[in-house]
């Protein structure tokens, strides 16, 4: 286990990670905002001085600054072979989310600035743990690694264009950008139309349940996702739908956490 964690940490410190690009992070926050109770919305707005969406990119925007570089590893979660969250690795996303929740629940004991930073961090980390390439699973070799693969434009013969992409970049930007012509509000509305009926199911349980759920979605990817893999257009299209599901889960779960904290 120690070796596994060392490997994961060393990998993460050289990689300034973001689970989703700005558009993805803000869309998730917008969906969450639309599912806040009145009380949670009023309190989060007061703390942040704006919407969840306006705070969604903050952690990424400061991630390169020396005082925040340690947060890079928080954007990944680590699961055992049985898809259980680790408790020994304090730089893990799940551990950090639990820490943020604890601070926010006892916010009267903390300074205003700590509460603001913690809330912004929580918004970002809940989104991050729902990106399928930010879930490191013990024994699943490529869940810990970034690698290049090839994706086809769907044509055959001379019209086919094969693009080489990094696996993480594909999940962090490329796949989300399929919806980039939509505003965050419109994408959130769409996710609500499609996944709204599953909101209750998605939000059940606690952060560790959610981590295990994401592990169960992520692990099967690595049965085929290996360096130099050739992805068809059809598969690409289907992965967009899978990613939408993950974004919906993130939005609903962030709302559930905040509604609980700011009752």
């Amino acid at each position: 286990m120690r070796r596994y964690i060392t490997l994961a940490v060393s990998l993460l410190f050289v990689y300034t990670a973001t689970a989703w690009n700005k558009f993805g992070q803000q869309s998730i926050a917008t969906l969450a905002e639309q599912n806040l109770t009145e009380s949670a919305k009023a309190q989060t707005t007061q703390i942040l001085g704006g919407s969840l969406s306006s705070a969604a990119w903050w952690l990424q925007s400061v991630a390169k600054e020396p005082e925040y570089q340690h947060t890079n590893s928080w954007q990944f979660i680590h699961l055992t072979k049985e898809l259980k969250s680790t408790t020994s690795f304090t730089e893990d996303g799940v551990v950090q989310i639990e820490r943020c929740v604890d601070i926010l629940k006892h916010r009267t004991q903390h300074s205003d600035s700590t509460v603001v930073v913690t809330l912004k961090t929580l918004i970002h980390l809940v989104a991050d743990m729902h990106n399928l390439t930010h879930i490191c699973i013990e024994g699943v070799e490529y869940s810990n690694k970034n690698f290049n693969f090839r994706v086809s434009n769907g044509f055959t013969g001379p019209k086919e264009v094969i693009t080489k992409l990094s696996w993480r970049k594909f999940w962090e930007s490329n796949i989300v950008n399929r919806h980039a012509t939509l505003s965050c509000e419109l994408l959130a509305e769409d996710l609500m139309v499609c996944y709204g009926p599953e909101k209750g199911n998605f939000s059940k349980g606690d952060v560790r349940h959610w981590a295990a759920d994401m592990g169960s979605l992520s692990a099967p990817l690595y049965e085929w996702a290996v360096p130099d893999y050739y992805m068809t257009r059809e598969q690409h299209n289907r992965l967009v739908q899978l990613n939408d599901k993950c974004m919906a889960r993130a939005g609903f779960r962030l709302a559930a956490l905040l509604n609980d904290i700011f009752r």
């Binding site: 434009n153 264009v161 012509t181 939509l182 505003s183 509000e185 419109l186 769409d190 257009r233 059809e234």
Partner: protein, 260 residues
């Protein structure tokens, strides 16, 4: 004038790597977004029931799936050929207008179709009604001078088709589809009714008559050195006109199916 020449160069440069399809994603999602604002409550509810998504979500679906197994036959549905009198060819199924008419006719009795057929038909209609209004999706089959090709800008070759596919995007840099749709959703009910007069066949014919103009604004197979201010303005007007037509008419077609 220098600015306009620069505009043309920058615009065409941005399009050189664009693969030819229809309106690009921004064009399709904008038209669908405009249409969604004009659905009756019942139509909106029915569309969401079958699609399980908003209209813009599926606006570019036909482009995304056209080369995937099971959908290859739809690859030829995105444009429509016309003769010198702007008439479509009888019996030609590789025709966006024909397919849109066929599907909307089938959808008149949507209650008798399976949910999956209704869902796919809706995805087709959302895309095809927009494609019919894309200025370069009319193929002037017997007129070699209007055969879409390329043009040269300062010695470099560019695709004419790609230019017109992406004009909505270009003229509204930094904007999202719903914001663009909102900006131009300014017509009165009377103006919208005027635009929506007729049927898909009429709309296709009028588009075929009117879109000949684009070949005079940015001549093909030529060496373009600059675009005049007048032509530049006209290209933008055509873009917005076709976007509005596509959006309002798509809403009309869908309302006609679900809220007769």
């Amino acid at each position: 004038m220098k600015k306009l020449a620069t505009f043309a160069v920058v615009l065409l440069c941005s399009l050189v790597s664009y693969s030819v399809s229809a309106w690009n994603d921004m064009g399709h999602t904008t038209i669908a977004s405009l249409a969604e604002q004009h659905l009756t409550p019942k139509t909106k509810e029915m569309c969401r029931k079958y699609l399980n998504h908003t209209l813009p979500y599926y606006a570019a679906w036909m482009d995304q799936w056209r080369n995937c197994p099971g959908y290859e036959h739809t690859s030829s549905w995105h444009t429509y050929p016309v003769d010198e009198r702007n008439k479509r060819f009888k019996g030609e199924s590789r025709d966006a207008a024909y397919q849109a008419m066929r599907i909307s006719k089938q959808m008149r009795k949507y209650e008798k179709l399976s949910d999956s057929i209704v869902r796919d038909n809706l995805k087709y209609l959302i895309h095809l009604i927009a494609d019919i209004h894309c200025p370069v999706h009319i193929k002037y089959a017997n007129e070699p001078n209007l055969k879409q090709g390329s043009l040269r800008m300062k010695g470099k070759k560019y695709k004419f088709h790609a230019f017109w596919d992406s004009t909505i995007d270009y003229y509204h840099k930094g904007m999202k589809c719903d914001a663009i749709a909102k900006q131009y959703d300014t017509f009165t009910d009377k103006q919208i009714a005027e635009i929506c007069k007729g049927n898909i066949a009429n709309w296709a014919k009028v588009n075929a008559e009117q879109m000949r103009e684009i070949y005079t604004l940015l001549p093909m197979n030529s060496e373009v050195t600059a675009v005049s201010e007048e032509n530049h303005q006209r290209m933008k007007e055509i873009t917005i006109q076709q976007m509005r037509r596509g959006g309002y008419r798509l809403a009309k077609v869908l309302n006609g199916i679900f809220d007769k």
